[in-house]
Point group: C2
Chain length 515, copies 2
């Protein structure tokens, strides 16, 4: 067994059994090691697809995937979606191929400071020094990535570490992945706040927006009158009919301020108090009203399910029944496509247990509330704000959940960053419906131009915002990578295309023509 | 005038009059400042296109372009082609938008360590602290980027620096861009080596492969019997009929060793002694034979034209006539497409003064010698080895040289990394013929798999190398972004498509079907 084989064997032994790969010459022994039948390899034609897919995998599985990237530039191409994954608290194990140690002193063309490139966005970085210790390194990387919250672990794999013989390899004892218990005094304090009857918003983040934590949060809300909210962007929310509903703090600063202004208290759960996404010349960074008090209930590394259990005990409310979202049957819309009819079409078409990956920006983000009463589903957002996240994340999500339909809602400008995802979706036959909102513009920037106090964009500025020359032919784009596609120009056609796509296996693309 | 306007005004005053932009919310004031009619803005749909285009611009102009990128992740997406530009000694001024200073302490979603991401691949990094000093910062960045060799200068632009008033701004005095004179003793030493009559290879790098430096190198060769060589990859070579010919050191280690083995001396000019591109288990890193002596003639920051003038003086050979490449009329090939017939078609079709950007890897790189006797042209290579460089670089090259036809020779796998370039090429009506070598495979990796001693790839490894499921439909891909395209399956059709493309303005794509 050589170092590469030892690495792959350790990854699968530790539960990391998928690798999103974009290999190069220095990773040939790793490719050979991928013959290990326990490891699934998924080829991506661009590294940002690989890292985004690993993020999507984690969001659904709560366990890390691995990526295989080619030296410093390969890592660099994956960094934007590593940033997004990091902000989503997704765990990920990146294997970065590197020249053999003896070759580095000659400064060959592909050499760069891989550690330097990895550190700003990784929680843990290590250069594997020997084929006999790579198993230890790999197990450590998996342990780091698997913690709560998930972490970005980056392991640099020199060629000689890969190709030399490994011998017998020790690995560190596997620590149970635990979440810290929250501080009882802090919970007691929040219980007092909630008993005060003063208006309180409980903001749920990371893993508190789903499962038993969300159910218990719903009981707290029902027992105390507190409201449940989320940041505008969340890693994954279980929502729709029968779920505990969560209110979404708006994106735009004035709307967020209006939403928050009446709360005397904000209680945070695995998140922090709301902050504006961008800085604007005449607007605040913090969104709460003056005088609103912020109370952390659960820190990022703590267990929110346990915290809510303790809180319910203190409140004597364990038996309270949470208010659940009723099913709202949305009639199939017709006529013009606009944000509202688009949201209605989605609400009507969403099949049971679907997963929505949302990067629809101007088109979808203000109207997502209309899908609250749809069939139960998961909603995934971009936590890091680096656009080009949706199509890769949907790719990983679909691989993690092959029995569920994935709807990837993405603006045309955003989709172009990582459009190579479509090829992997076709190759793997993934059940993804990619919805392209084609307004031929970075439309969000038109609003932001005014928000920034830059006035109305002039001709040259506008030419940097509109992407209508040439207009992207989305049907041809989908065809080029083997994804069947259709364009729609009415709400009823959009609904039909969504519903049709959910009935057939494999990827589909719908171009929603907004021009 | 606000900070952004001061920045743009300074850039154009200092001679940087093009900006390859992919803007976001934090760069709205910069967009507004782009209304400055002296600055040309070129929109790119992915940041790697912007940085690669800036590289291409520099290769033809020898002066830097600017890029506009959106925070840390936007920079990250541009890093792979910054790596390639750095290895090509191309100067570049990157402007990276950033949150305003007051917003950073809240750790907003898009925040990252921009300096940390920039430093590994930039020669100079600065965070602009104030709108009144940004002009100074910008002028410093341009001066750094404009040195010899060119450098990567990265200027981080916080929102408040952008939107606050600039007042009167000082800028540093403009230093004349000079190249250092080489050391006379070193030149004398090389003159002695050349007079010895022992077999000598003079390896030309960076700016020594063109213009007066190349002419003078040709005189030295003619006078002394030394041979002229280049590394396998060069930033730009002026070649073809009437130019001083340069022999190319082969890529594959055994071939490079065979080429170099008979030389007693290697003289280096703006480059170093030849090194293997990758490390292999049983092959050396250094390619020269044992006993070969290496003599640096011109260091990277020195003036090779001056060095050769001094050398010719010492040799008393200033009046020698260099041997020039004769015109070789290549007959139009016919029949099957293979590396040889492809090279012949290119040689026959190249119009006078064309520019070839080569990333053809397995298909083109071993046969480029067959175009040595074609009409005079420039040849540009990937110096950093991060693939996905050719289509962006061709974009910048075509903008720099609107009157010349650009041929971008690229493998299908490579083209997919930064395929968004096609859109900018269509938008700007650039005279680029993109030639896609469609072998549906990362074919180079099949050879490298064996070179690495990993044996024959098994089924799973092969599935990470072949990209034929699905086969990319290149005609649809080109159509999706507004580029007219044709597919060819014979050498005569390939020749005709090349020749036709050169007669019409605007971009074209030719899919060369190798399957």
């Amino acid at each position: 067994m050589n170092g590469a084989q030892s690495l792959v064997a350790t990854l699968v032994d530790q539960g990391v059994d998928i690798c999103f790969a974009n290999p190069g010459t220095s990773e040939m022994h790793f490719l050979a090691a991928l013959e290990n039948p326990k490891m699934r390899s998924v080829l991506c034609l661009f590294e940002g697809v690989a890292t985004g897919a690993a993020d999507g995998w984690y969001r659904m599985k709560d366990t890390p995937a691995s990526t295989l990237l080619h030296l410093g530039p390969g890592l660099a191409n994956g960094l934007a979606n590593i940033h997004n994954a990091r902000r989503a608290s997704s765990g990920m194990v990146n294997i970065i191929g590197e020249h053999s140690a003896a070759h580095l002193k000659y400064d060959p063309p592909l050499m760069s400071d891989i550690e330097g490139l990895a550190r700003p966005l990784s929680h843990w970085v290590r250069r594997a020094e020997s084929s006999s210790t790579i198993a230890w390194d790999a197990a450590t990387a998996v342990a780091k990535a698997s913690g709560h919250p998930g972490q970005i672990a980056t392991l640099i794999l020199p060629g000689d570490t890969s190709w030399q013989q490994a011998g017998t390899s020790a690995i560190p004892p596997r620590a149970a992945a635990t979440r810290k218990a929250p501080d009882a005094a802090r919970i007691e304090h929040v219980a007092r706040v909630l008993r005060s009857g003063e208006r309180t918003l409980i903001i749920l983040g990371n893993k508190a927006t789903r499962g038993v934590a969300l159910e218990r949060a719903g009981k707290v809300a029902a027992a105390t009158g507190a409201r449940l909210g989320s940041q505008f962007f969340s890693a994954r929310i279980e929502r729709g009919a029968g779920r505990v509903p969560i209110e979404r703090i708006p994106y735009a600063v004035p709307l967020a301020q209006a939403f928050l202004k009446d709360f005397r208290h904000i209680v945070t759960v695995e998140t922090s108090e709301p902050v504006a996404f961008f800085a604007y010349p005449d607007r605040p960074s913090l969104l709460k009203a003056e005088g609103t008090l912020v109370h952390p209930l659960v820190e990022a590394d703590e267990d929110s399910a346990l915290a809510f259990e303790m809180l319910l005990d203190m409140l004597g409310a364990s038996a309270t029944r949470p208010t659940l979202q009723p099913r709202v049957e949305t009639p199939v819309p017709s006529g013009a496509l606009n944000p509202l009819s688009i949201a209605h079409a989605l609400a009507a078409a969403l099949p049971e247990n679907a997963i929505v990956v949302d990067e629809s920006l101007t088109t979808g983000r203000e109207t997502m509330g209309h899908t609250m009463g749809a069939a139960p589903h998961d909603l995934i957002n971009n936590m890091g704000g680096s656009i080009g996240y949706a199509t890769p994340v949907a790719t990983g999500v679909a691989l993690a959940c092959p029995d569920r339909r994935v709807f990837c809602m993405v603006g045309d400008g955003s989709a172009m960053y990582t459009i190579q995802s479509l090829w992997t979706q076709a190759r793997e036959g993934l059940n993804i419906t990619t919805v392209i909102f084609a307004n031929n513009s970075y439309a969000i920037l038109k609003a932001e131009y005014a928000n920034m106090g830059a006035g109305a964009p002039g001709e040259r500025a506008l030419s940097m915002i509109d992407i209508d020359r040439p207009r992207i032919d989305w049907l041809a784009m989908a065809q080029s990578m083997g994804v069947p596609a259709v364009a729609v120009e009415t709400a009823e056609d959009f609904y039909r295309a969504l519903a049709d796509s959910a009935r057939e296996p494999g990827p589909r693309l719908i171009e929603v023509r907004l021009y």
